[in-house]
Amino acid sequence: MSERQIQLEVLRYDPETDSEPRFQSYAVPCKNEWVVLDALNYVKENLDTTLSYRWSCHMAVCGSCGMMINGEPKLSCKAFIREYSDKIRVEPLANFPIERDLVTVVEDFIAKLTRVKPYLIPKEDKPISAGEFKQTPAELMKYKQYTLCINCMLCYAACPEYALVPDFIGPAAIALAHRYNQDSRDGGRDQRQEVIATDEGVWECSFVGACSEVCPKHVDPAGALQQVKVASTIDWYKEHLMPWVKK
């Protein structure tokens, strides 16, 4: 089993003692199959128990371990050490306040996610005895890609619009709104449009496309946002030029 010594430079911040973050370097003997999260776990278990970071599944499903690795938003469980040089710099996700070390404050994202109502709002109430809502494979394909979002927030860390305009609802939340709008069983689009078809919604996006480039699950939030823009523009023309046409 091959081993390689790397320098892990971690941005540390203790709100009780530090006025600003500082880098701390650890020498970590890494195995070939390790990811950055393994190196952090090594530090926590062997070198420095005070290091704080979030993680859970270690398999790119839970979305907890997102961080900046050499300046790029990555899931640390998916970032293989062997793909990096001997010095790796790890920082908390950009564009979020730092709670402690690599742990960020994510309340803003959670609040935005809640606002877009990311759940099925059925077109009409149906008693359970009436049976399930049926959907064809083609109807499923229309939105399936967006269901893969794991709320890891890498897209927010990559988005310069979110960095400059914190009110921007942002990539993942709008992509999830789009996921439900595209669902044949859903009837909640009008409610979601009030949140996402606004200045702080899709119209804040200038299609940098960074969100889709960093997405570990290939959700393509940038695509979702542009599709919401197209649909909202069609809505506007229908409303103003053809008011007799129902949406």
Partner: protein, 130 residues
């Protein structure tokens, strides 16, 4: 949440120079090219105005276009317009996906269709111009 979260400031004027994010510079390049598109549109409006003022005025406008500065601007505008157009064509599959049954039409067909329409329109303008 702790009562002292640390906020990292992002520069409002130099954010795109972040050396770790070259994609921001590519984005700014795409956005900056629109200045040339706008300037060329303005040039066409000036051409119309000169045309309305009579043959002498229009000839003066054409002479100005043939000056080294006029040629240089046209070349720069062409390069900018090609970069602007291709960078947008290449992202059309994201904005306008086409679903056929359970499959999506491959992105390169959507991009290719844009190039094809561009070529046809350019050809028509070329033929009309000759």
């Amino acid at each position: 949440m702790s009562n002292k979260p640390y906020v990292r400031e992002v520069s409002k004027t130099t954010w795109f120079l972040n050396p770790q994010q070259p994609r921001y510079k590519r984005y700014m390049a795409r956005e900056v090219t629109c200045i040339f598109i706008g300037a060329y549109t303005f040039l066409l409006i000036v051409a119309l105005k000169r045309l309305a003022e009579g043959p002498d005025a229009f000839q003066g406008f054409l002479n100005a276009l043939h000056s080294p500065l006029g040629v240089l601007f046209n070349l720069a505008a062409l390069v900018a317009a090609v970069y602007h157009s291709t960078s947008w064509f290449n992202v059309t599959p994201q904005a306008m996906p086409i679903q056929r049954g359970e499959e999506f039409v491959p992105g390169n067909i959507i991009v290719g269709a844009h190039y094809a329409v561009w070529a046809v329109v350019s050809l028509i303008i070329l033929i009309l111009g000759i």
